[in-house]
């Protein structure tokens, strides 16, 4: 019999167990402190590995076979090859042909290219995905078609779940643009260069078995090694691990939408007028069209004022590289890389430094980079009157996006959501978020094309922009304005059945997503 749901500290009704594993309901920001020791993978013995260090096996199938692939295992992959990834799907294609069932796929993120795993969810090869659910995958899950319950975690939460033993990776299959026969690997070089491999760090350190898959085998040592061969069981050489033009976009594109540009301009003005942006602060903005435009406007301000950012945290883009090269930023720290200019910069510019989420976002680290950031620009699918944020579902109730680093980034000093007030009649500011991903106490400012709302918890910010001429409104005024234009929306209808759990950065359950009621 199913156990009774409990109400967590955010007021959301969540189950005490998910996929047969007991879970902890969300307790509040920084409240959950697990005790004991970190999880450890089994102890290996070096004499079990070839003396000549050559771990190359003939195929991925052989490697999976040697790793003891069987029903119910957890398979992890990383997403540095982005929409050009050819490795993840291959793993499940092989597993399916071998008749393996009920696997758990534990990717660091999924992309449209991964939509084809739906067939392996259908044929029973995969029981569930613990990672991000985008587009068609999100729809599949929302309609209750996945056998197990999806678990969505932030990038940092993924590392946390590995370190505290919530997720035990049986086999990590790690695509590497360059590797040697011992398993040392890096993200640069070769035809499929993706810049860095930071998202794979927890996987190779904590998985029971590690397979490195490369299309660019070099003589030992592959240096500088981002994956250390001492943790690797097998190396597989294939023709292609990815489709280069889909791994990084040639150029990341600034938005052309006049409304988004207006949001970007307002955001930059707000940063300047409020005094948040000044000499020697730190900043992070994403790679979406609006974020890129914000970076460009901020760059202009820095140039005019003669200010410098101490560092920027990326997702690196060419606009950050430009700040670095023109002297308005001292360093770029990179968790991932979005375009070719950044890949080149990483290879050539010593002030462009790989910095993985393992260190930057992880709840079980001794401190996080995100809480040191001064300016954090983020998006959201919904924000509610209490400034709570949603990034995984839209107001229609369907899963649409992963959490990414969003939850982790909320710990910065000034968190700004730069978002449109509505998207083609879809409301963004709502009474209550459809799915709670981040508590409002961590969200400071919402900037839309029709006005700026500052969280009443931030009286200092409210004071700093008083009388500035910026279009300041309350969050309720913004909501009312949107509803006046779009009309008051109906609420989506849900079944009782839970299709996905949303984890907070500490591994507790902050909310769940229920099955969409279809008529």
């Amino acid at each position: 019999m199913a156990l009774k749901n409990v109400i967590n500290a955010a007021g959301r009704s969540v189950p005490p167990e998910i996929n047969g594993q007991s879970v902890v309901p969300y307790k509040g920001v920084g409240k959950h402190k697990p005790e004991g020791s970190k999880y450890s993978p089994p102890i290996p013995t070096c004499s079990d590995y070839p003396d000549d260090g050559n771990k190359v096996v003939s195929s991925l199938e052989e490697a999976l076979h040697k790793c003891g692939l069987r029903d119910g295992m957890t398979i992890s992959t990383h997403h540095h090859l982005r929409d050009g990834d050819l490795v993840s799907n291959k793993v499940f294609e092989l597993a399916s042909s071998l008749g393996v069932k009920d696997l758990v796929w534990f990717p660091s993120a999924s992309f449209p290219c991964n939509d084809s795993v739906i067939q392996y969810l259908e044929d029973g090869t995969i029981n569930r995905i613990e990672g991000s659910m985008n587009g068609p995958l999100g729809r599949y899950v929302s309609e209750g078609k996945m056998k197990g319950t999806a678990v969505l975690r932030s990038h940092g939460g993924r590392v946390q779940s590995i370190q505290d033993g919530e997720v035990k990776i049986d086999i990590a299959v790690l695509a590497a643009p360059t590797a040697d026969s011992f398993g040392n690997a890096k993200g640069t070089g070769g035809a499929s260069a993706c810049g860095v491999l930071g998202y794979a760090k927890a996987d190779y350190l904590y998985a029971t078995k590690v397979i490195v898959v490369t299309d660019n085998l070099v003589d030992l040592p592959c240096f500088p090694m981002e994956i250390e061969g001492n943790y690797v069981d097998y190396v597989v050489v294939v023709d292609k691990i990815g489709i280069p033009e889909k791994i990084v976009s040639g150029t990341t594109q600034i938005t052309k939408s006049p409304d988004r540009l207006l949001i970007a301009e307002l955001t930059a003005s707000f940063l300047e007028i409020s005094g948040i942006l000044k000499d020697r602060v730190t900043m992070q903005a994403g790679a979406g069209g609006t974020s890129l435009a914000i970076a460009v406007f901020v760059h202009e301000i820095l140039k005019n004022k003669g200010w410098k950012l101490k560092f920027g945290f990326g997702g690196s883009t060419k606009y950050m590289v430009k700040m670095l090269e023109e002297g308005q930023m001292n360093f770029i720290l990179d968790a991932q890389v979005f375009d070719l200019d950044s890949v080149k910069s990483i290879e050539n510019n010593p002030n462009h430094i790989p910095y993985s989420v393992f260190n930057a976002y992880n709840y079980h680290s001794k401190g996080n980079l995100t809480s040191m950031m001064d300016i954090m620009i983020l998006g959201a699918t919904e924000v509610d009157l209490n400034f709570n944020g949603n990034v995984v579902t839209h107001s229609d109730g369907y899963l649409l996006h992963g959490i990414g680093g969003w939850q982790n980034c909320l710990h910065a000093r000034n968190v700004i959501l730069s978002i449109p007030l509505f998207r083609d009649r879809i409301p963004v500011i709502v009474d209550e978020v459809t799915t709670l991903c981040g508590p409002g106490e961590l969200i400071d400012v919402v900037i839309t094309e029709r006005g700026i709302a500052i969280n009443p918890l931030r009286q200092d910010l409210i004071e700093s922009v008083k009388g500035s001429g910026l279009p300041l409104k309350t969050i309720r005024e913004l909501k009312d304005e949107a509803e006046k234009i779009c009309g008051i929306p109906q609420k989506p209808q849900f079944e009782e059945e839970i299709v996905a759990a949303i984890k907070w950065v500490d591994g507790t359950v902050i909310d769940v997503v229920r099955k969409i009621k279809t008529r």
Binding site: P258, D259, L261, L262, D396, G397, R425, I426, C486
Partner: protein, 413 residues
Amino acid sequence: MIKTIAIAGNSGTKVRSDCEIVLELKTEGGINIDLTSKVKVLYGESIKNLVVEVLDFFGAKHANIKINDSGALPFVIAARMEAAVKQLINSNLEYLPGFLKENSYTTTRDRFRFSRLYLPGNTPGLMINAGLHSADGIILDLEDSVAPEKKDEARILVRNALRQINFCGAERMVRINQGERGLEDLHFVIPHNVNLVLIPKCESADYIKQVEVVIAAIKMKLNLKNKVFLMPIIESALGIENSFEIARGSENVVAIAIGLEDYTADLGVPRTIEGKESFYARTRLVVAAKAAGIQPIDSVFSDVADMEALKQNVLVSKSLGFEGMGCIHPRQVSVIKLGFAPDKTDIEKARKIVLAFETAKLKGLGVVALGSKMIDPPVVARAQKIIDLAIRLNLISSAWMHEVTPIELKTLK
């Protein structure tokens, strides 16, 4: 044969905030709605209710309706429904959405018309947020940006937009079509508080008078008191030759604009960036406008990606005497506004001249000098114009003369 199926609106992968409606009127079977919409979960019921309400308004009891919606707002759906119904039923009824009280403002003859943003009259996605970009005027265009087969539905959409979209204080303008159709357009827009009508390809004062007669008749019939200003657009050699008469065509003409794409086509020469071929026309139009005491407005700049070229273009335009320019993209607005406004050096120079003049007047001196230079009266008059402009644009305080320091006064000597 009587038409029984009508299609109105737009759909497609790039279409946003619009809908396409396929309407089939029947004699039995009630009303059947087949709705495809990205916002079905959120607004499905309200869309269906609206459709039924519009059909009921026009007395249609039996119909099959197929809607392909990309997030259209209610006033858009209503406009598309009305347009579809009117293809099948002859009706003078109008299904009018509520008129926003924020939209009932009037404008004045001499307000700034530096920037006015063109919006294609049948593309609702571009209209909704247009008022946020701080253009002096918003033009809902029924003419060149609307495909011939979409002209009828655009009228209804523009009418509803005038009632339902808050343009945030921008002057509410409509560009009508040419000739008879243009006069018909007026019936759809004038009752909904249009501040200014743009008259395209204007070649004679006579047409201005025809427009005036129609507007006056509509206003009288509906007892409307609001001013409707006119801005003829000159786009041909004949129009240029008649520009002074056009400028004086009615007391409601507050500006004349030039349209260079059509003008250069009329001359049979290519339009160039430096614009030598249109130099005569532009200066002629400026002179005609100034002689008639109205604002001369320059042609649009079509390269929306090149802001630097736009800026240069604005500076040339300003130096010829133009007082505004059309915008075809919201990002052009601020460049144009900044360009036509006096810059710091202009204001500083004008301040000094006006101060010197006032000081001389106080001392009873007949001759005004600044440093060792004599200043002629027209120079003073021009400086005063710049100061007035700067005050109206909030670039300097209206009490600036009282804020002059004794030290500065000394330097004038």
